[in-house]
Amino acid sequence: MADEVPNSNDLFDDIFEDDRPAAPPLPTPQPINLEKQVPTDAEFLGEKGGVVTGRGRMEAAFGSGDGDETATAQVAQVANEVTGGTLFHQIYTPWRGELNSRWVRNWAILRYHVYGLFSKGHKPWPVMTKLIIFGVLIFSISDLAMLAIGAISGEEMIERISGISRGNMYGHVLSFWFRNACTYPIVTALIIGGMISEDRRNGTSALYFSRPINRRDYAAMKFLSVALILTVVVLVTLTAYYLGAILVGGEGWAYVMDTGLIFLGTFAAGVLLVFTYTSIGLALSSVSSGKFFPAVSFIGIILGTKLVAFLISALFNSSAIYLISPYDCLAHVGQWMLGLNHTYEHPASWSLVMLLVMNAVSLYVLSARVSSLEVTRE
């Protein structure tokens, strides 16, 4: 029985054996003549022999064809009359232009970050960040506004309170309340938050380092970008305040000679503040891959160290603990530069050294972390 079962391989072999009767030939297809199928005795719209054609249907729908000979109409072209037209034709276009030098490339990085605050097409800063920076900028020139109000109203008291003095200049840059408690650290935190960490998170570091941008230039331009924005908020407003006081008061050269050094001292202290905040902030941004951690950490370092120093100094009756606070070191050095009475017992040189150490550590961390940014992820 098993022998009678055909092998599956041989099932189709008989298809090729030609011993079956030949099948009848298929009928040759005949062309269909539509004209023959139309009944000759048909009648349509009263017309004998008329057939239901497309024209007949149009006349039934839109009326007779009278006057069609003189009428013109815009009609769509039928497809076979279209001679060309391609939806998408991919053509590679070569370009052999000149490429600019290193400094133009670096300028592009700086512009990308700074212009993003004002215009589209650059770094997309969050709207809240832009608004807060704008608000702080307005607040920073409030002392100039007070001067203007004093001059306009003629109130000497207002002019005296808001005029140029060592205390007012110090207050513009280094006063803890309100500027270094609420505004400058917050602005810095918002700026540095995603400055490097977002490049790490989004992988955009590959865009920089696969191009002729070296890591030193990358870090330097990021640093300059943050520093430039802080400079506008802190130092440009200081300069506006000083120049405004001269203009509003109608002061002469003698006044400039008297107060010029105070201004320069304050400006130098402001540069130190901008540099220190930027380096600490960018170091924090470089160790993270999110915006939140660097921003909160920065505020924590500035305000937290001051709070801790304040509590410990109250217990031990010593101001040296304030050396752990970047803000207090800046304030101490600023007091020394402006010739104000010191509010700290330890020497100002200690604060200066601490500032140098803080900046050195921050820049080292920044440099090391930027070196670890990858072009290819492994």
């Binding site: 991919q90 589209k120 977002e198 696969s210």
Partner: protein, 335 residues
């Protein structure tokens, strides 16, 4: 640029005791070249080396005539690099993202903007160029990355897994676009991919590396000739034919009625016909088998001691390769 675009001589890169690139001597001519190798083979290290981004332990090399040790900036100015992973700023629109990439190369702002429009149209994003990148699909992001890489019309385009995560339609378009860059633009491409079909479709040459060593390089057609096979379609007794071929020492590989035997010389054809006549089996078709790159890969891996069934076993897995047999310390096979 014609002629040799990449040339390295005994390139070695060590990370501590780990050898990432081992005495690698490459010579890549202009055109499209595929870079193949399992995970951890050293592809990324090789790409970074060619971009002039890492210091070599020893050896030397030139890319587009520039020294990879000292002229990294010049190399990167003339190379377009398309990374495998996301590298775009989510909040930007495509046209400004591509423009910024051009500025980072050193293009003037206005020219970069003009070229940005041109290349975005070329990669098929003309109507999407003002859309925010965060709203893009994977295919559109890949296309934007390609636009970033070719904005300055580079002589050499290095693509790291360009079809990663794309559906078949987008993948086809991406490959066509890359093909156009080579054929129409007369530019060179070094394409790293784990998809053999993609490499075969674009590239006429390959470089295969494994454990930091170069194991194969050259034209795909030349490399395919290392093992020629004859494909036979039989009818009416495939099992008998298989047994006969085995007895004759031809080691057939059989899938149903289709068998492949290694072509030893010209007499192999006659031997197969003779065996078919003896066993009473019809041979419906007999032809030289055209091996794919996948076949080539399997042969090479087989010679290296890996018992892999497909390239996916090695190339697509993360971490350690899922090899059946441990690889020998030295690659063999005389490739």
């Amino acid at each position: 640029m014609t002629g040799t675009i990449i040339e390295t001589d005994q390139l070695t890169k060590m990370y501590g005791p780990h050898v990432a690139l081992d005495d690698m001597s490459l010579k890549i001519n202009s055109g499209a070249t595929g870079l193949l190798g399992p995970n951890g083979a050293g592809k990324s290290t090789l790409i970074k080396t060619l971009l002039g981004l890492i210091q070599l332990t020893s050896g030397e090399g030139k890319v587009l005539g520039y020294d990879i040790r000292t002229q990294g900036d010049s190399i990167r100015q003339r190379i377009g690099y398309m990374p495998e992973y996301d590298c775009l700023t989510p909040g930007m629109d495509a046209v400004h993202q591509v423009k910024y990439c051009g500025e980072l190369i050193g293009m003037n702002t206005n020219i970069a903007m003009q070229r940005s429009h041109t290349v975005l149209e070329y990669v098929g994003l003309r109507d999407q160029r003002y859309r925010e990148i965060s709203t893009f699909s994977t295919g559109m992001m890949q296309a934007t990355k390609l636009a970033c890489a070719i904005i300055h019309d580079p002589d050499l385009l290095i693509c790291d897994e360009p079809t990663n995560g794309l559906d078949s339609k987008s993948r086809g378009f991406m490959l066509d676009t890359l093909f156009q860059v080579v054929k129409q633009g007369d530019r060179s491409i070094l394409m790293s991919s784990h998809l053999m079909e993609d490499v075969e479709r674009i590239c006429d040459r390959i470089v295969m590396i494994h454990k930091g060593k170069l194991i194969a390089q050259g034209k795909i057609e030349d490399l395919k000739a290392i093992d020629r096979e004859i494909e036979i379609w039989v009818w009416g007794g495939a099992s008998k034919m298989e047994a006969a071929l085995q007895n004759a020492g031809l080691s057939p590989r059989r899938t149903g009625r289709v068998m492949r035997v290694v072509r030893q010389d010209e007499t192999t054809y006659d031997l197969v016909l003779e065996l078919a006549a003896k066993t009473g089996v019809q041979i419906r078709r007999m032809e030289d088998y055209e091996p794919s790159l996948e076949d080539l890969f399997l042969v090479i891996m087989d010679r290296l001691g890996y018992g892999v069934k497909s390239s996916a076993d090695l190339l697509q897995t993360q971490g350690q390769p899922r090899s059946v047999a441990p690889a020998p310390s030295r690659p063999g096979g005389g490739i």
